[in-house]
């Protein structure tokens, strides 16, 4: 798999078109790594000159900030901004809505100003420009429901890009009762991903999975590695993993092209 680091571009005296911000989940989490690879395959098939930071990338600090540790967040932010600015990065694309939100909204006042896109927005652009082509139709007519990640949807009002991509695939998009701005959280945000939940009568991801199951889907599509984990666990909890797949939009596109 061709993946060049920013340091390599620098050594060649070149500047990539975009920086792909992989994020911690996308780098280390086994499930999320598949999303990372799917997105890279799409980038390569569209001949995009992209770079990653590799070992120079560090956690954006989103989880620390939302856990209340503003110090740690700003330390992370300042460290990352130093590197991004040293490489004169202009445009960042990421497959993680948490990184997306933090880079786009919370880095500027600390000195990091970039154009930041979620991978669904970028993929939509590439298709519009004709650089990425959808030629197969292996998902045509499949019942697919889209779970809006909180940090993509409500937090930044990106509702269309992922749905437009699903339309490109010709799927039968079936919306959950709560969708777009009323979408229910998967339960992972605000650092919940890293802790046991408080006492209650149900786990949030199970409730959200029930929302999804009501649409009787073949695939639950998401655009966030954390949502992906939560929904995958929910589907397992409901013992439906044999019938229902949880896939990132990038995976759907890559699978469709048999990349």
């Amino acid at each position: 798999m061709t993946v060049k680091t920013m340091a390599e571009f620098m050594a060649e005296g070149k500047q990539p078109e975009i920086l792909f911000w992989v994020g911690s989940a996308g780098s280390y989490d086994d499930r999320a790594k598949k999303i990372t690879r799917a997105f890279v395959k799409l980038l390569n098939s569209a001949n995009i000159e992209f770079a990653v930071l590799g070992a120079e990338e560090s956690c954006t600090g989103d989880a620390a900030k939302r856990a209340g540790n503003e110090f740690l967040f700003q330390m992370q932010a300042v460290t990352n901004i130093e590197i991004l600015n040293a490489y004169e990065i202009k445009k960042i694309v990421t497959a993680c809505p948490h990184s997306f939100n933090t880079l786009k909204n919370e880095y500027p006042s600390l000195g990091g100003n970039y154009e930041v896109l979620h991978h669904t927005q970028y993929l939509q652009q590439l298709i519009k420009e004709g650089r990425l082509k959808v030629t197969n139709n292996s998902f045509k007519g499949k019942r697919i429901t889209f779970h809006d990640p909180c940090y993509l949807g409500r937090a930044n009002e990106v509702y269309e890009a992922p749905r437009e991509l699903l339309k490109e695939l010709g799927v039968n998009l079936v919306e959950m009762k709560r969708h777009r701005r009323t979408a229910l959280c998967c339960g992972a945000g605000g650092a919940q991903m890293f802790k046991e939940s408080e006492k209650g009568d149900k786990d949030v991801n199970v409730l959200r999975t029930e929302d999804a199951l009501q649409t009787n889907p073949d695939v639950i599509a998401t655009g966030c590695p954390y949502c992906n984990t939560m929904m995958t666990d929910g589907v397992k909890f409901k013992e439906k993993e044999a019938d229902i797949k949880v896939l990132d939009i990038a995976e759907l596109l890559a699978n469709n092209q048999e990349l």
């Binding site: 911690s24 956690c59 540790n69």
Partner: protein
């Protein structure tokens, strides 16, 4: 001529408005106990938000039934209050229906007031049924203890009585009925009183008139003690609410200063901290009490309508956790009221009462259940962010008390040591490439 009614009226008016002004002053003082925050930017966007959300009720109608009825009550109530202007002039100068001189238009005006009064009456009855008969879940959560429940019903009774008095007043006004214009509803009520001698009828009309205006004055003064305060505060609150993307959490400036100092290679690590020179206390991070919150957050605590739209969409609450964003707002207001009363009782100085918002009102268990999903912020019809208060309190817990749950401490240690929330080597960040 007998001036007694005029004098009594003037006294009632002065007392009613005077007491209201006194409470508004107290309200403003309490809100100003909050920290300063810069809200001078984006004036046109803010104005737009206020016009759309407060005046245009754009977020109310997202729930169509409640929204539609609420618009009726809101519009009805405001428009009918034009009538109050006439009542005040009549009351002060002993005139009777002073505006009737404007001719046909008067009939049109009063006619529409009467129709609105009936619509308001119907809507308010439906509201009462939704709360007390259908018992919509969001009106019965645990934070809806006896006072909030009664408060909501009192408001509905008030409105029912005021609207009825308005119609009775018109129906029993012989000269108004004789005019035959504008009595579109009251002409159907008038026959009920047809057997009553004119003198008694006049007495009923006067009583209804007096009760109507006194009722309005009492209602005005009830606002301060009630969630009904939102009819006034919705305007400033929607204006001052955040205009940033919902996902954007402010970066604490006090932290930035220290971080920059720590990261600055030229800084002398052994230099005495700057605070030593100024005699100021080092700034407290986050919030443990209402005075640590900013004044917009305090304003929103008073603005909260206790509608529970936030709580009914909160993932934590929906799955049985203790967290309820509405309770966060109600607790903040109750504590602020407590602090205000403390100041009143101690000649303008707050005397430590050994209590605070954190712990005595809002527990850690509630705070840690939040997923920061912004559903509450999205839902709130008056642009309140319960999330911002939750975040400030988490900041206090973590930065002042190091009281994060153990798993979160592990996560943060990992970020500190290897730049990821999990214990993996930063050098392995690109391993996915070859897997």
């Amino acid at each position: 001529m007998n001036y007694l009614p005029n004098i009594l009226f003037a006294i009632a008016l002065v007392i009613g408005i005077g007491y209201f002004v006194k409470n508004v002053r107290k309200l403003i003082r309490n809100i100003k106990l909050g920290k300063d925050v810069d809200v001078s930017n984006n004036k046109s966007q803010r104005l737009k938000n206020m016009i759309n959300i407060a005046l245009g009720q754009s977020k109310m109608v997202r729930r169509p039934v409640a929204g539609f009825l609420h618009v009726i009550v809101y519009v009805g109530f405001i428009i009918i209050n034009i009538e109050v202007l006439e009542i005040i002039i009549d009351g002060l100068f002993g005139t009777h229906r002073i505006f009737s001189g404007i001719g046909n238009l008067y009939g049109v005006l009063i006619g529409s007031f009467e129709i609105l009064a009936v619509l308001v009456l119907i809507s308010v009855i439906v509201f009462w049924i939704r709360r007390n008969v259908i018992k919509l879940k969001r009106f019965w959560n645990s934070e809806m203890t006896s006072w909030p429940k009664n408060d909501a019903n009192y408001i509905l009774y008030f409105e029912m009585v005021l609207m009825s008095l308005f119609l009775i007043m018109n129906a029993t006004d012989v000269s108004f009925q004789a005019m035959g214009s504008g009595n579109i509803i009251s002409q159907h009520i008038a026959p009920l009183f047809s057997k009553i001698p004119e003198h008694t009828l006049h007495l009923i009309e006067r009583s209804a008139w007096w009760l109507h205006i006194l009722g309005i004055l009492v209602f005005l003064n009830y606002l301060y003690f009630s969630k009904h305060l939102h009819i006034l505060l919705a305007f400033p609150n929607t204006y001052y609410a955040s205009v940033k993307p919902k996902g954007q959490l402010d970066n604490l400036e006090s932290v930035t200063k220290e971080v920059m100092l720590m990261m600055d290679p030229n800084a002398d690590p052994f230099a005495a901290p700057e605070e030593a020179e100024t005699n100021e206390d080092p700034e407290k991070f986050g919030a443990s009490d209402v005075t640590d919150l900013n004044w917009v957050q305090l304003l929103s605590a008073y603005t909260c309508t206790e509608c529970g739209r936030c709580t009914s969409s909160c993932p934590a609450n929906l799955t049985g956790k203790k967290l309820s964003p509405r309770k966060i707002m109600m607790d903040t207001r109750d504590r602020l009221e407590e602090v205000g009363k403390n100041i009143d009782a101690n000649k303008g100085e707050f005397k430590d009462d050994g209590k605070q918002l954190l712990g005595d009102y809002i527990t850690k268990e509630e705070l840690w259940a939040c997923t920061t999903c912004n559903a509450c912020v999205e839902e709130c019809p008056v642009s309140i962010s319960p999330l911002s208060i939750i975040m400030d309190m988490r900041r206090y817990l973590v930065m002042e008390e190091s009281a994060a749950p153990m798993e979160l401490n592990n996560m943060m240690t990992n970020i500190e040591n290897n730049g990821a929330p999990w214990p993996y080597n930063q050098m392995d960040r690109l391993n996915w490439k070859d897997e």
